[in-house]
């Protein structure tokens, strides 16, 4: 269970220095404040796939980074299984598997060693982590890759390894930031199948949150959608509910109306 309510976060971007009179650095212009996240709220229950849908720069990654405790929110509250992220970040991370935007592997280690390393950091015993790596490899169809060094892995192979690494401690909550970036059709399908299975009681009934800017993925996979635009939650509900609310048949059209109300007004439906 992941709950996010009214979080906000801004960043100060250094303004470029203006040239002073004799070519020396003059007064700096007032630093620009960027409101990456203004007001995002959603709640993702277990056994449920929640999609965070929004255009580029809407604040999805910042929200997920706040959830992982990498960025401290300026306002609002984030909790995982009822545990406050800001107060007890390490307990939260132990219950959560995060596949972040950057998913670099260690090229000189094998896929198995990469996975076991994270298992050990999660406090697992070596044998347990190894057994779990074996299970995950079977689930993601990557057993043949397991003992190869990750140097020279394809995008899809890297993603599978990074996902296995994030799930090594069998977390009840799974957060994925644009997991299908750079994946081909087959790899994307395989990932969707894995996520669906993880949602079922047999797969552990996980609470899955994933961010994307691709409509089809949301339509095919998500039990509910949270539409984020310009740092705010603008709509929440199932795909059907959102279609009904906007009076559209095409989900893309519905999304544009929700995320860019001004742009939608110009384009006739």
């Amino acid at each position: 269970m992941i709950e996010v309510s009214g979080v906000a976060r801004s960043f100060v971007a250094a303004a470029p220095a203006q040239r002073g009179r004799f070519g020396f650095a003059g007064k700096r212009a007032a630093a620009r404040v960027i409101h990456a996240v203004r007001d995002v709220s959603f709640s993702a229950p277990g056994g449920h796939i929640t999609g965070l849908l929004g255009p580029n720069g809407a604040g999805k990654t910042t929200t997920l980074r706040m959830l992982a405790g990498l960025i401290t929110p300026e306002a609002g509250r984030l909790s995982v299984d009822g545990i406050d992220v800001v107060e007890r970040p390490r307990e939260v991370l132990a219950r959560m598997g995060v596949l972040s935007d950057s998913r670099g592997l260690y090229p000189r280690l094998t896929a198995r060693e990469n996975i076991i390393y994270y298992g050990a950091l999660q406090g697992m015993a070596r044998d347990a982590a190894d057994a779990r790596a074996q299970d995950l490899a079977r689930m993601f169809d990557m057993t043949a890759l397991l003992d190869r060094r990750t140097e020279g892995f394809s995008q899809g192979e890297r993603m599978k390894t990074a996902l296995a690494r994030a799930l090594v401690h069998d977390p009840a909550n799974i957060v994925l930031d644009e997991p299908t970036n750079g994946l081909d059709v087959l790899a994307t399908r395989a990932l969707r199948d894995s996520l669906r299975w993880l949602r079922t009681p047999a797969g552990g009934g996980k609470c899955i949150v994933f961010s994307t800017h691709i409509m089809q993925e949301v339509e095919r996979l998500c039990d509910s959608v949270v539409v984020v635009a310009e740092g705010r939650t603008v709509a929440r509900g199932t795909v059907a509910e959102l279609l009904e609310r906007t009076g559209q048949r095409d989900f893309e059209e519905a999304f544009v109306r929700l995320a860019f109300p001004s742009a939608a007004a110009v384009v006739p439906a």
């Binding site: 390490r90 939260v92 972040s100 260690y106 050990a120 950091l121």
Partner: protein, 391 residues
Amino acid sequence: MKPSLAAALTVLRKELTDALRDRRTLMTVLVSSVLLGPLALLGVSGLVASLESRAELREVYVAGLANAPTLQNFLERQTYTVKAPPGDYEAKLRKSEFLDPVVVVADDFETALARGDAPVVEIVSDSANQRSEAATARIERLLNGFSRERAVLNLAMRGVAVQVLEPMRVEERDLANQQTRATRITGMIPYFVMMAVLYGALTAALDTTAGERERGSLEPLLMNPTERWALVVGKWGAVACVSMLIAVLSSFSFLPGQWVLRSDTLAAMFQYGPREALLFLAVLLPFAAALSAVLMAVAIRCKTFKEAQASSTIVILATSLLPLVNIFNLGSQSPWHLWVPALAQNTLMTWVLKGEDFKLAQVLIPLGVCIALTLGGVWFVARMLRQAALK
């Protein structure tokens, strides 16, 4: 406390595996820094041995020997073998094909000597040809001996006491012991060892910080429930281990190095045994720890490995230039030398080679500086880690 320590050990083990699998870098470091010192020592010993054998041969090359039977008689009485140089000795000296200076005697040497006209004797050498230059001083002393003998004989025949010619006698008393003299040649050893430690730490330090950022593996790493200081301590430990391993290897590499010293004199002067090697390590290990932390602190601010390499140049430069204060002997040893990292280590190791005693305090100052640098570096990396992961 305990889980954090376990996590630090996990990170340490992983980073060590990672560093040791980087075979090519490791081999380059081993070959260039660990073997370079002993090889340089071997080269110097070869040069010294060749000079010694030349001196022991007691040979002197004289052109126009037939013109100077008196000089030949003197040289032979000094147990020198007098030889005629090859015809084109000037050209050969220039090309370093001929290594001895040549004494050139004028045609009218003997008559001029008898008349008391002070004939000119040339010593031909090429100052760009280092070996002939080294022998020139010896030949000059020999010829001066001839001059003095002639003068003394002439005066004695006229009934003048020898003391008139030499109103004062000069005797040298060298206070340096044999080990101290040897440091003129072996003084570069601490320098080589420190460079080895530096290059041992460099790649690993950059890889665990800037390399991790460049690969995009730092952000996922921070999404584990591990204390940041535990991560940094583990990383630092691995870098320090690699650097210390290089320190051990390079310190002990001079032991077999001296068995093959070709010059007996140098071998006698160069006293580097297991005791010296251990003292070197006592100086180098804290230095390796501090250097690792400082390099990591510099590199954590850089987004790419390449950028970090550029930034770390300042550390490399400082480590390689500061010991030069000792090597060039700019001013005598001052107390502040022990407070400057790199310079302090160089000073201490030079003392070890000289066989000089030093007080505990003189070891504790550099040790304290190293500990402070280590703590400061690790603290800084831990503080920067989250920020570094995001950008």
